[in-house]
Symmetry: C2
Subunit: 312 residues, 2 copies
């Protein structure tokens, strides 16, 4: 099979009208004046973001979900996506069919469709780039710079689970199953993002660890976050020390939970949304006028701040 066969057989069935059956040089999207289009790109590189021996279905889902998480963080409704895969000739046959199956399942789950992209060979490693598109009404995206002094800091779910899953990926103990699953298949908080997009005045998804991503919020609003370590929601694992869990939560990556600020009077509304969606929303800190550092860790018994993952 050549690239046209792969596209025809596995990718065309995933496309929307905008893709016009992938027969043109580009997709054509009719604009609507009362909406903003929200656009984001995430790449997954073999050996960096995934091992390569995972089921291609799961790699597909993770590729989509890290992008969906960006839409969640903007409070935007995801509508379609663009996909580029570079893959060595030898790997293509076994990979593309299963990869497309994974896309198909998650497309249905999240209500999105493919609009185009590129399929090329590569020398050695697989590289997957997805550009995702979402919509909000004009000026209703939640950015990273809207927090005010006195605002509360909330986070969804539990933190560090994905890092525990990665660190114990080859463990045969069943106690790591949920953690490994969270690492392989993050749950982008798309519905939560939509539910709180009138409440949150700044928001980010946690992909690089709580401390680094909280810093982004503080820095963009030019404020200091006081983060109460004792309030950080951790997963429970028998036999794992609390310090290790905390380390995973603060500096581990791939959690894809939402971290956001809001005025103090929204606490009750958030409790209702939390109950309705079945997702924990935990008040873990607050914003104050900038002083010395973007982030202060309260109740933290270490003298150091570790670095989160950096590519370079």
């Amino acid at each position: 099979m050549n690239e046209f066969d792969y596209i025809e057989k596995y990718l065309k069935p995933l496309t929307s009208n905008i893709a016009r059956n992938l027969k043109d040089d580009a997709a054509i999207f009719k604009q609507k004046s009362n909406y903003d289009l929200v656009i984001s790109t995430d790449t997954l590189a073999e050996g960096i973001h995934f091992f390569g021996h995972e089921n291609p279905k799961d790699i597909a889902k993770k590729s989509l979900r890290v992008n969906l998480s960006d839409m969640a963080a903007m409070g935007a409704k995801p509508i379609f996506y663009n996909l580029s895969i570079s893959i060595p000739k030898k790997k293509a046959k076994n990979f593309i069919e299963k990869f497309a199956k994974g896309l198909c399942e998650d497309q249905e789950l999240f209500g999105i469709e493919l609009i185009g992209g590129d399929l090329t060979s590569s020398l050695k490693d697989i590289n997957i780039t997805i550009t995702i598109f979402g919509e909000t009404l004009n000026k209703k995206s939640v950015t990273r710079d809207g927090a005010k002094s006195g605002d509360l800091l909330f986070v969804s779910g539990v933190l560090g689970l994905s890092k525990i899953g990665l660190d114990n990926f080859y463990s045969k103990s069943k106690k790591f199953d949920s953690a490994k699953k969270k690492y392989l298949l993050p749950e982008p908080r798309v519905n939560l993002g939509l539910a709180i997009n009138k409440i949150a005045n700044s928001m980010i998804d946690i992909s690089d660890g709580l401390v680094q991503d909280a810093c982004h919020l503080a820095k963009n609003s030019n404020l200091t976050i006081v983060l109460d370590i004792e309030k950080v929601p951790l997963p429970s694992f028998i036999n794992l020390k609390k310090d290790l869990l905390l380390d995973a939560a603060l500096y581990g990556g791939d959690d894809y939970e939402l971290l956001f600020s809001c005025r103090p009077n929204y606490e009750k509304a958030l409790k209702n949304i939390s109950n309705e969606k079945g997702i924990d929303l935990t008040h873990i800190g607050f914003f104050q006028d900038f002083h010395e550092d973007y982030i202060k860790l309260k109740n933290y018994n270490h003298s150091y701040k570790k670095k989160s993952y950096l590519h370079f």
Copy 2:
């Protein structure tokens, strides 16, 4: 330098308002009802689409230009683009600064800006994915399926030059300079695409050789193209056999010239546009009702049809 430093120093200066200084999880684009947004993606993989030892400035320009060529083929005005680079840690320092310089120069030349993307490490090879965005008034994109029986087939510039450049990339003879330049830095026909978008009723850019790309036009309009080999515009090279030049034109890649159909009464208007833009527009064939093959080669003295480049 980590990825945030690279982004801050080299990529942020390239961005438009839509990127909001690259500080959010996504870019925000205000839609306009009377326009269509035209979206296309092309990836360049090291060792496949480029050697890797070229000047990173030229790699940047080629990455942009192959994408700009897709906008030209749609008759769309390019407005902004999204960029993802995966690059091994060791190569980043020497590459990114020069790469950004190349983007900067071509942004000015083509009037486009960066809106976002991703920068990650990779294990071994560089992978560059650009998604480009253009605009047309509603329903004014030129697609690949609008040709009618009796239409004429035109092509811009000369064909095969880029393939000659690639085949003689390591030659020290000056006679290949223009060919090597065309291979390294294709000239996307953006202004031509805009000038003929009311005349062309189907269009494609030639990236995979004239025969394969002409087939796409014929197939999508369900017609047969009769292509007169003697009319195909070839570059002139002393000492290179005509057969070799013709082979490069028919089956070589990377020409990025525009191939389009139009009603016969537009021949004079095209001559005026050709004179005005200083770009040859050559009438190389016509469309007829589908019969047996999508493409018939007239005056072709070979019994075979070679295959154009396929990735898999």
